[in-house]
């Protein structure tokens, strides 16, 4: 399965249409196969990322906040979207392979704060 993740540094990017970096990788359901590619986009455009997902025949898009139009468009193109994901993208990928990645999930690695005491 080919997976596209919108990323920012080591995290899933907060917002789909503001992302300039994406990771494309393939998995056999249990582990990553081949070399994941990180693509730097010339600008930030939700339309361009949708176009890239289609061109790359991606089966799953993992992202942060996404507008309804882009979400519906990807679904219409038979691309599954797990949106609203917060946390490190590697963790998101592992959760996806374990079939545990749900829309709106806040991954354990997202919270590094111990609170004030």
């Amino acid at each position: 399965m080919k997976i596209l993740i919108t990323i920012e540094k080591n995290e899933v990017a907060p917002r789909f249409d503001q992302t300039s970096e994406i990771l494309i990788t393939e998995t056999d359901g249990e582990k990553v196969t081949g070399n994941p590619r990180i693509i730097l986009l010339p600008g930030t455009s939700g339309d361009d990322i949708c176009g890239l997902a289609i061109k790359e025949s991606v089966a799953l898009v993992i992202c942060g906040g996404i507008e309804e139009t882009h979400y519906e468009y990807l679904l219409w193109k038979k691309i599954k979207v797990v949106d609203g994901v917060i946390g490190p993208y590697e963790q998101a990928l592992h959760f996806a392979m374990a079939n545990n990645l749900k829309p709106g999930i806040i991954l354990p690695g997202a919270c590094s704060w111990e609170g004030y005491s």
Partner: protein, 480 residues
């Protein structure tokens, strides 16, 4: 496990400040507030921001702030970094995308958070929802698609006189009237004119969801309350805190949910589905229905106590046929609106056309009149709209002039007002309402797709649209 604290106060040198309940203070504000520390992690968010973003405060503590608000601020440089470095307050306009995938225009104000000792603790980000301002701006500078309530007739004047009274109080309002008479517009107008206008106005259609889903939608649920409830959901009552909850089609509400609504109205608190902790809310309720609630009470399908609780202020919107003075006003208004929107040079309606329009019964009321005008302005390629430019249904079916239509009147004893239904408005009426331009457009798309054997690229070209526009329209008309 990360240690989380909901209402942390920064350690300060002032013992009084240390004792302040900052959380309650922030929750009373009609603006979204986000505190982030120097590493930009969420220290707290207020209740308004919970409603705006769809996140619970507890679940996002310690998360990077940008992941919660999902703004486009970073496209404007690094304003949080600028505030941390410069100590200046910045005001910027942008937008956020919330959990419902909706883009909301926002005015951001970023200020440094400093301790009394002078030490920088982080940044306070204030988010002001400027959707209304943007709407107003588009009304002034262009077509917005949202018309105001129009009417000079005596019955509408009575409504206009009641609106400010309804806006001044927090009493429940029940809006009744046939379909298409503008119940939603009136509810929103009351909210906008009220002291709650800076807080959310949330509309829930009680007839659109099955009982279990509606209960979760209204009151929220806690994680694990039922299969698939993998996280807490705040619910519309909580999201509307401080503002107005508009429950439309209240007559379709099941009896068990009626009891729960009644409890919230009385106690101003409720238990979320599966929850053991009561949630307190301050929400004004406006309800609407096209049904005769008094009759439902008599049939035992609507609780009498809830009925009296909702029916504190009653507004009955007249059907179009009872607004003779408003017909031309509305017709001209919609004509001007669509002519400007569609950049048409059409000058008006022919005499025959006006006769036909004024003799039609409008079972769909103002909404139907608007659809008919939209259709006619779209279809007409000439200077004057002729009868053939009207929806075919108006030309082929026998017209029923309102005064000639048999009426059955029933007295609503609760306030003495009379609701009048012509036969065409009763349940036995089968004449379908014209779909307006929407139907024409749907037909055009189907024709183009048929002629191109389903080839969307060629169909889009034939229609003079981009592929993405055709895709949007196909989705809109549910033609997949």
């Amino acid at each position: 496990m990360a240690k989380k604290q909901a209402h942390a106060i920064f350690p300060t040198d002032d013992p009084l400040l240390n004792k302040l309940d900052l959380g309650s203070l922030l929750d009373s504000m009609a603006l979204g507030v986000l505190f982030v520390d120097r590493a930009r992690r969420v220290i707290t968010i207020n209740r308004f921001l919970e409603a705006l973003t769809g996140y619970n405060r507890e679940e996002v503590l310690g998360v990077h702030g940008e992941n919660v608000i999902r703004s486009n601020l970073l496209s404007k440089g690094d304003p949080v970094g600028t505030v941390l470095v410069s100590d200046k307050t910045l005001t910027l306009e942008g937008d956020i995308i919330n959990q419902s995938r909706k883009k909301i225009p926002i005015r951001f104000t970023l200020s440094p958070l400093k301790l009394i000792s002078g030490k920088k603790a982080g940044v306070m980000i204030i988010l002001e929802d400027i959707s209304l301002l943007k709407d107003l701006d588009s009304k002034i500078h262009g077509f917005s698609g949202k018309e105001r309530i129009i009417g000079n007739s005596l019955k509408m004047q009575e409504i206009f006189e009641l609106l400010p009274i309804a806006a001044k109080t927090d009493a429940s309002v029940l809006i009744t009237g046939e379909t298409g008479t503008g119940k939603d517009l009136v509810a929103e107008a009351i909210h906008r004119a009220s002291n709650r206008s800076r807080y959310p106005f949330i509309k829930v259609n009680c007839g659109a969801l099955p009982e279990a889903l509606l209960e979760s939608e209204l009151f929220g649920h806690v994680r694990g309350a039922f299969t698939g409830a993998d996280k807490d959901k705040p619910g519309m009552f909580r999201l509307a805190h401080g503002g107005t909850l508009f429950l439309t089609e209240i007559g379709d509400l099941s009896l068990p949910l009626q009891v729960k609504i009644l409890t919230v109205l009385d106690d101003k608190e409720f238990f979320p589905v599966g929850g053991s902790k009561k949630i307190s809310v301050d929400v004004r309720i406006i309800t609407a229905t096209h049904r005769d609630l008094g009759e439902l009470v008599r049939q035992g399908n609507f609780r009498e106590d809830l009925y009296y609780r909702l029916n504190v202020l009653r507004l009955h919107l007249p059907p179009l046929k009872e607004r003779d003075d408003d017909f031309r006003l509305l017709l001209d208004h919609f004509f001007r609106e669509f002519r400007a929107n569609l950049k048409k040079k059409t000058k008006g309606f022919s005499e025959d056309c006006l006769k036909l329009l004024s003799s039609y019964s409008y079972p769909g009321n103002v909404r139907e009149l608007r659809n008919i005008v939209e259709y006619a302005v779209n279809v007409c390629g000439d200077e004057t709209i002729q009868p053939q430019h009207l929806p075919k249904i108006m030309l082929t079916k026998p017209q029923i002039h309102p005064p000639a239509a048999p009426r059955k009147e029933r007295l609503l004893p609760e306030n003495g007002t009379t609701a009048v239904d012509t036969e065409v408005n009763s349940a036995s009426y089968t004449l379908p309402a014209p779909g307006g331009w929407s139907e024409v457009e749907k037909g055009m798309i189907l024709q183009a797709l048929t002629e191109t054997a389903g080839n969307r690229s060629r169909a889009a070209e034939m229609l003079g649209w981009s592929r993405s526009k055709l895709w949007r329209k196909i989705k809109q008309h549910r033609l997949e």
